[in-house]
């Protein structure tokens, strides 16, 4: 239930503006890959191009190839909806659907798509997904209450449960803890370590300790200056990137000399 992602010479544009240039990388399955780098360096943009979410913005497009187990997701005949059903995403700010209960939020991927499901199957899926997101014990008695009534950390785990419920191959996380307190952050990080048993996980983070704690592989993005495109500077096993990086800029960033 996890796929290898390969990027070949990917450029990403917003209209005429080139936001990311020349990214090539391999993201291993059952692995946590962290993207780090200063603001505006294109990590989130690149992350969003992995499930074709960036093209929601008018004028955004991609050149190059991104493959899921060898299949190019930017092939002209590919439906972005198919890609997104395989590559789930967790956003920076928890965004449960305000009109839905906790239970309906978990089932949102099915309910919105109008898929019929027997009540027992739905109950099983809700419990399994909420357990998978370490949220079951906290909400099992109030599944019919609105999802927006949970705390920020619980909401974010609810969003993860919602993502897990549709059985994706890959989970992308865009700074999932930046709006959360340290305790909730810890809960999410524990969850990420559990999820990597089954999924390919890519996480964007500004928190380098977090990258060091949860990731197996780290990719450092950087930008030369305002208006210039962001580039992948260095990618490797997390211990190596944090101890003996090959590029000076990576070391400067990690040791806090800039950024």
């Amino acid at each position: 239930m996890s796929k290898r992602i390969e990027a070949h010479d990917v450029d990403i544009f917003y209209g005429k503006f080139k936001a990311v240039e020349g990214v090539s990388m391999t993201i291993e399955p059952r692995n946590v890959t962290a993207f780090i780098g200063p603001s505006g360096c294109g990590k989130t943009t690149f992350l969003r191009s992995i499930n074709r979410m960036h093209e929601v913005l008018p004028g955004a497009h991609v050149t190059g190839r991104i493959t899921l187990d060898g299949d190019n997701i930017y092939d002209p005949g590919v439906d972005p909806v198919t890609v997104r059903s395989m590559v789930g995403m967790v956003f920076q700010r928890p965004n449960p659907f305000p009109t839905m209960s906790i239970r309906d939020n978990v089932l949102a991927g099915y309910k919105i798509n109008g898929k019929k499901m027997s009540k027992s199957d739905a109950d099983d899926l809700v419990e399994q997904s909420l357990r998978g997101a370490n949220l079951w014990e906290e909400v099992k008695d109030r599944l019919d209450r609105p999802g927006s009534g949970l705390s920020g950390g619980q909401q974010q785990r609810l969003c993860i449960a919602r993502t897990v419920a549709v059985h994706p191959q890959v989970i992308l996380m865009d700074e999932p803890c930046s709006a959360l307190d340290p305790i909730s952050t810890l809960a999410i990080e524990d969850l990420i370590r559990e999820l990597k048993e089954d999924y390919t996980i890519v996480i964007v983070t500004h928190n380098m300790q977090q990258a060091a704690r949860v990731s197996d592989t780290t990719a450092f993005f950087n930008i030369e200056g305002t208006g210039k495109p962001g580039k992948l500077i260095e990618m490797g096993p997390t211990e190596k990137i944090f101890s003996t990086p090959e590029v000076q800029a990576t070391e400067d960033y990690i040791t806090g000399r800039f950024g």
């Binding site: 979410m53 909806v81 305000p98 991927g109 919105i112 109030r142 209450r145 609105p146 993502t163």
Partner: protein, 383 residues
């Protein structure tokens, strides 16, 4: 306490709060207001009584004196604060005057009309000058009622709503979700703004013209070769309603956070399902109350309905055939062309009654809008 020596105490030894120096007691404001009104009353008791001028002079005296008192006791900053705050309050009461006055006048004049036996249950069929002369002479109650006008108003407004809500809703969905600010979208937005400003009589002429072109077969067609019918009035009203529905729905759809759309896309949901199951449910309370307010807005239109549905004395349930009465036109007709020109009082009474009913309907619609907004609002956080 250690700082007792620093605390000012009165001669009798009672401790006073140092933080309260330079402030006014709570009753000062009301004393100032009462004084201003009393002074104003004194002036007009001498010069001859006049309610509006009494109010104006009282308000100005209060504005001036309360500002001066504050400026003197609490300083210039408080003075100007009080000046502007009082001005805002006066403006608020000024705006309330016409509203209260209208409601009071209609209530006091219309209550007798709607309490008349058969006011809601009968139309004006068979009510002629003879009956009204008798009613004016006190020989019988005022006969006749608004059944035909009430039914006409409800039917025409209902059909207008059925026409304009789908068009308005789909237009705004296209504008917000699909158009991405292209040329066509800007043109449509501009035209919707222009439509908002169309005089209602022009909308009536437009509807009459369009329907005339399509229904005025010589002696033929279902409507009997006549464009004057309830449906034409509904078309005229929907011309007035559509821009209101488009603008209010557009506003509501735009405030739905993009994060919710993206969250839905990220689950592998198609755009149209996202709009149908995520965006619209999130915005439905605002959309519903906007639509209700648009209905309330057109329910009181007179001119376009006079042109398109004409007027009638009998109840007509068929919006596609025959003239139809509505409440505003009923009021107009009863006042301008009383059933018994030499004894207009019964007609006047019916007109006030109809006006009261119309105001009640519009107020009910506003209440319904609030209720809908509360009932459909996204679930509130609560544990």
């Amino acid at each position: 306490m250690a700082n007792n020596t620093l605390t000012p105490t009165r001669a009798d030894g009672v401790r006073t709060n140092a933080l309260r120096s330079g402030t006014l007691p709570g009753y000062a404001k009301w004393a100032c207001l009462a004084g201003s009104l009393a002074a104003s009353a004194l002036v007009f008791a001498v010069a001859g009584w006049n309610w509006p001028l009494f109010g104006v002079l009282g308000a100005l005296l209060y504005l001036g004196s309360w500002t001066i008192v504050n400026a003197a006791v609490r300083g210039g900053r408080h003075g100007s604060n009080v000046f502007w705050a009082t001005l805002v309050w006066i403006a608020f009461f000024l705006a309330l005057v016409p509203l209260v006055s209208i409601i009071w006048t209609v209530l006091s004049n219309g209550t007798r009309g709607i309490l008349e036996f058969g006011f809601f249950g009968s139309d004006m069929a068979g009510v002629t000058g003879v009956q009204d002369q008798a009613a004016a002479a006190g020989e019988s109650g005022v006969l006749g009622g608004i059944k035909h006008a009430l039914i006409g108003s409800l039917l025409i407004t209902l059909v207008a709503t059925l026409i304009s809500v789908p068009i308005g809703l789909l237009t705004s969905i296209w504008l917000v979700e699909y158009a991405r600010g292209g040329l066509l979208a800007r043109v449509i937005t501009f035209l919707v703004d222009v439509m908002t400003g169309i005089p209602s009589i022009v909308a009536g002429l437009f509807a009459a013209g369009v329907l005339m072109a399509h229904f005025e077969f010589v002696g033929g067609g279902y409507s009997g070769g006549n464009q004057i019918m309830g449906f034409t009035a509904a078309v005229a009203l929907s011309v007035l309603m559509i821009p209101v529905v488009v603008r209010s729905t557009e506003e509501m759809l735009r405030v739905v956070p993009n994060e919710l759309r993206e969250a839905s896309y990220a689950l592998g949901v198609r755009k149209w399902r996202t709009i149908l199951r995520v965006v619209i449910p999130t915005a439905i309370s605002g959309i519903a109350s906007g639509v209700t307010l648009a209905i309330a807005r057109v329910a009181g239109e007179t001119a376009p309905i006079l042109l398109t549905a004409g007027m009638a004395v009998t109840t007509n349930w068929n919006v596609f055939k025959g003239w139809m009465m509505t409440l505003p036109v009923f009021i107009y007709q009863q006042l301008m062309r009383p059933t018994a020109p030499s004894a207009p009082d019964p007609s006047t009474q019916r007109a006030w009654g109809a006006a009261l009913v119309l105001i009640i309907i519009v107020m009910l619609l506003n209440l319904i809008a609030r209720f809908i907004a509360a009932a459909f609002a996204p679930k509130q956080p609560g544990r």
